[in-house]
């Protein structure tokens, strides 16, 4: 009966009395505090009644009850874990219907008659344990079969690493990178959802910067010591090119052509000796048009003046009538 008056959330051990209010607010603090505690005791008794009537199991430390789910909904701390997007292999395996089967970590090696690891150090069927590779007819001359095998292995490992990174990038885009993996550690937070991968400087950009640094001396880097393997700067800072002035086979003529072209352009703009008939006609037309306009304006302004004076006269007359 009492319990119906309160809202009880047993999961949070909370009771709320929405009906209570102080009739006259007590004047002294002691009185107020006493009333609060009284009411509080009543509410907590309500929760305790519900709590102690739950089925309990005896334990060494005392009776233990199972609390129901909290009914007051409170927000989460972090987002729900998002499903990881499938890797390329997983997609492929699903398409082909390939099922993942567990394999034993230890395999019996028939050659030595012992148990060995499937992968890793001292593994079964290790290529490196084979000391002799028999020559085939297809073999190229001068190629070391051992180093070739080593290279191939390294390539496979590199490829796998590349694939792994690609898959991780996909996971990163989906926004649920495992907390223990960071991509390009400098700019990414441990958790949270920041989606900026820092851009790596391209080869050209690096070359530009290196060139600028190399020529940043008084002599333009002419007398600087070169590092072993350092190439000359690609962009020395010279961009204007001058063609040779002296007439030669091809280039000299080019220079002449270039200057002539510019000269012609200039001369054409300021040439007065030839009369441009079209231009003269339009100029004449514009002039006459302007004159006509001016005359019109003069006549308009005179008429508007008349109108104004008329108005004033009318007003004056209306006043007189009153």
């Amino acid at each position: 009966m009492e319990a119906e008056k309160y809202q009880i959330d047993l999961g949070n051990l909370m009771a709320y009395d929405p009906s209570h209010h102080f009739q006259p607010l007590p004047s002294s603090r002691e009185e107020l505090s006493r009333q609060c505690l009284e009411k509080g005791t009543e509410l907590v008794q309500g929760v305790v009644n519900a709590l102690f009537s739950l089925p309990s199991t005896e334990d060494l430390d005392g009776p233990i009850v199972r609390l129901p789910e909290p009914s007051t909904r409170l927000p989460r701390e972090k987002h729900l874990p998002r499903p990881k997007p499938p890797t390329k292999w997983e997609l492929f395996a699903k398409m082909k219907g390939i099922k993942n089967r567990k394999k034993d970590k230890r395999v019996f090696d028939e050659r030595t008659g012992t148990w060995k690891r499937r992968y890793g150090y001292d593994r079964v069927n290790d290529d490196r344990d084979v000391p002799i590779i028999e020559a085939k007819m297809t073999d190229e001359l001068g190629e070391d079969p051992f180093s070739k095998r080593k290279d191939e292995k390294k390539k496979r490992v590199d490829k796998q690493e590349k694939n792994r990174l690609q898959n991780l990038k996909q996971v990163f885009k989906a926004g649920d990178l495992p907390s223990h993996i960071q991509l390009a550690a400098t700019a990414l937070p441990i958790t949270g959802t920041q989606k900026v991968i820092p851009k790596k400087a391209s080869k050209e950009e690096l070359e530009d910067v290196a060139g600028m640094a190399a020529t940043a001396t008084a002599s333009g880097g002419k007398f600087d010591k070169k590092l072993p393997g350092e190439k000359p700067a690609k962009h020395t800072g010279k961009h204007r090119k001058f063609l040779p002035v002296v007439e030669g086979k091809g280039m000299g003529a080019q220079e002449k052509e270039q200057t002539e072209k510019i000269l012609n352009k200039l001369m054409a703009r300021s040439s007065h000796d030839i009369l441009d008939v079209d231009r003269a006609v339009t100029m004449f037309n514009v002039k006459t048009e302007k004159q006509r306009k001016r005359e019109k304006e003069v006549s308009l302004s005179s008429t508007s003046n008349k109108l104004k004076s008329n108005k004033k006269a009318f007003k004056r007359s209306s006043k007189k009538k009153e």
């Binding site: 949070n12 051990l13 909370m14 009771a15 709320y16 009395d17 929405p18 009906s19 209570h20 209010h21 607010l25 603090r29 107020l32 505090s33 609060c36 505690l37 009411k39 509080g40 005791t41 907590v44 008794q45 305790v48 709590l51 102690f52 009537s53 309990s56 430390d61 005392g62 009776p63 233990i64 009850v65 199972r66 609390l67 007051t72 909904r73 927000p75 989460r76 701390e77 972090k78 987002h79 729900l80 874990p81 034993d104 970590k105 230890r106 060995k116 690891r117 590349k162 990174l165 990038k169 907390s179 223990h180 993996i181 991509l183 550690a185 937070p189 441990i190 958790t191 949270g192 959802t193």
Partner: protein, 316 residues
């Protein structure tokens, strides 16, 4: 190519996994910090809130200049601290002429501010000024009860919000099983007026009543204070929707147990295949490990020395 960075030690990996988003979350931690100026009262309030929440709280003791949670760009360093300490509650105390004894209670979602309530502290009574039998003092980390009294908690928006925030801040860990002997504390919050809430911390004393349900008695153990609501900011609707998402609950499947009317409960037992994977190899056993190279050469030299000596002795 990008660099993949993984923790180098297992300890580091565990530490990172601990803070990752989970289906069933860890208990939320509280960050307690100061503004540029805090009064004597507020220092005590912050210290005692830290005391109440010990085990699930981090307290910073330095002054923080650029934390103003209600203003834009005033929350940057707060969010950074939250990320560093993995806290999703914060209690920020500051004291100014305009807002004396100011306490900002806030919650974070995904290390961004979720909501805020600003309260002024009045009539603060510290723990030390309450005299009571120390045997009944609440133990650290025990699950508290809550009693909210007053219609204003429902009718006034600010108080409704404050009620939720107070409940979230002080409820401690979410537990499934509760030991009934560990019931020892309660927070009594009373809405005195439409802006003021009296906040009291009491110990519970269980007394015999003759039935299985005990009669309880509340003894105030402090701290107690009046909280006057000033500003508050409700969560963004979109963020709220995200944060309120509950984990999909699936009842656990009970395997290999069936019931028979005659025989009763029947359990099946499977004998798993032999595990070859755990087989110890010769170099996993210390005694069978290959000899160290240094040891080998040293032994040989000793042998040679010995033989030399023998020879010299013979010659003598």
């Amino acid at each position: 190519m990008l660099k993949i960075k993984t923790p180098k030690t297992l300890k580091a990996k565990r530490a990172l996994d601990k803070r990752a988003p989970k289906l069933v979350e860890n208990a939320k931690k509280t960050l307690i910090l100061h503004g540029t100026k805090t009064s004597y009262v507020l220092n005590a309030v912050l210290a005692q809130i830290f005391h109440l929440k010990k085990g699930l709280a981090v307290k910073f003791s330095r002054k923080n200049e650029n934390i103003r949670p209600f203003e834009s760009s005033g929350e940057t360093s707060l969010e950074f601290f939250s990320l560093k300490t993995d806290c999703s509650f914060f209690v920020f105390g500051s004291h100014s002429k305009k807002r004396p004894n100011n306490l900002i209670l806030g919650r974070m979602y995904d290390h961004h501010i979720y909501d805020l309530v600003e309260v002024g502290v009045e009539n603060f009574t510290p723990i030390e000024s309450f005299k009571y039998d120390k045997k009944i003092a609440p133990r650290q980390g025990s699950k508290p009860f809550f009693a909210f009294i007053g219609e204003n908690f429902e009718s006034v928006d600010e108080l409704k919000h404050l009620k939720e925030v107070l409940l979230d801040h002080f409820r401690g860990e979410i537990v499934e099983n509760l030991n009934l002997t560990g019931v020892d504390r309660v927070f009594v919050c009373t809405a005195i007026s439409s802006t003021t809430v009296s906040f009291k911390h009491c110990a519970i004393r269980l007394k015999k009543s003759g039935t299985s349900i005990p009669r309880i008695e509340l003894i105030e153990v402090g701290p107690s204070m009046d909280l006057v609501v000033r500003r508050h900011r409700l969560p963004n609707e979109a963020v709220k929707k995200q944060a309120m998402k509950a984990a999909p609950m699936q009842p656990r499947k009970i395997k290999n147990v069936s019931r028979d009317e005659v025989k009763g409960k029947i359990g099946k037992i499977y004998m798993p295949d032999q595990q070859v994977g755990g087989l110890a190899l010769s170099n996993n056993i210390k005694g069978l490990k290959r000899e160290r190279r240094e040891g080998k050469t040293k032994d040989k030299r000793d042998d040679q020395d010995l033989s030399k000596k023998m020879r010299t002795e013979e010659s003598h």
